[in-house]
Homo-oligomer: 164 residues x 2
């Protein structure tokens, strides 16, 4: 297995400094504001981005402990395969969130609906486009259970299980 | 800027061996079949995944040439900032596609709607969940133009502009 080297293109700033208390996913984070600082050498790549209402941020779960293959999430009490969850403690520690883009000032993107921690290294930005990204699915595995729906309805925030 | 080292967790097999002729995005790739081989050490993480109709694959654009910050895509003739596009030639070369999961046999995932090249290194698998991933947006920048809609309607396949 070859190793692949990535270089962060920026840094994510957020009101959340630790996992505990951070909302789970963009929907639960509705309205929470953050800023994405894109490093100067990558700034030219931001052209044409401002027209998008929502953008994907791909980033490093930099505060997550070592990867686990079996995890218990905040959404129920069962042990789940990590690839069937969105848990931070996963191989390669890559997270992705579709945040709302409010405005761009120079190389700073002001965003909302951020469920990401302060100081998170950014790998990539992609435009959210419903035709590419939005699908209605009829089977969503364990996430279809009434217990999960109930917890999500109430709004889930992280505890410290995914902290170092 | 710190470097971050990733290790592929598997390999994507696809009928497309070169960029030229590969469909653009899962929707254009409707029905095209592929297989995701997850390396044995990561197999336990696949538990509970089979219940999902669609899954995100995060992978390396391994055949893409060096990153460019300004690109001309297949969807119009304008120079665009790469972060406002889904082009492969981007810093860190990370791609993501929401493919249809047909079935799992051991550590092999049979998938459909694959717009990914044969031999692509896999970084992560995440469940697609409409509540987390599906948003209707009213502003999609340059992708809202009639020209883009027209090209997408016809079904876009890659040419060789993003090959090495």
């Amino acid at each position: 297995m070859t190793e692949i080297l990535l270089h962060p293109i920026g840094l994510i700033h957020s009101p959340y400094t630790e996992a505990k208390g951070t909302p789970l996913q963009a929907r639960a984070a509705k309205g929470s504001c953050g800023a994405v600082e894109v490093y100067e050498p990558f700034m030219a790549g931001l052209k044409d981005l401002e027209g998008f209402e929502r953008i994907w941020l791909l980033y490093r779960f930099h505060q997550a402990p070592t990867a686990k293959l079996i995890v218990t999430t905040l959404l129920d009490n069962q042990a789940r395969g990590v690839f069937a969850t969105r848990c931070p403690t996963r191989p390669n520690l890559i997270g992705m969130t579709p945040v709302k883009l409010i405005r761009i000032e120079g190389r700073v993107l002001h965003v909302e609906d951020i469920d990401i921690l302060e100081g998170t290294p950014l790998f990539d930005i992609k435009p959210y486009f419903p035709l590419f990204d939005s699908f209605q699915t009829s089977r969503n595995g364990w996430l279809d259970s009434p217990e999960v729906a109930n917890r999500l309805e109430k709004g889930v925030v992280m505890d410290d299980r995914f902290s170092r």
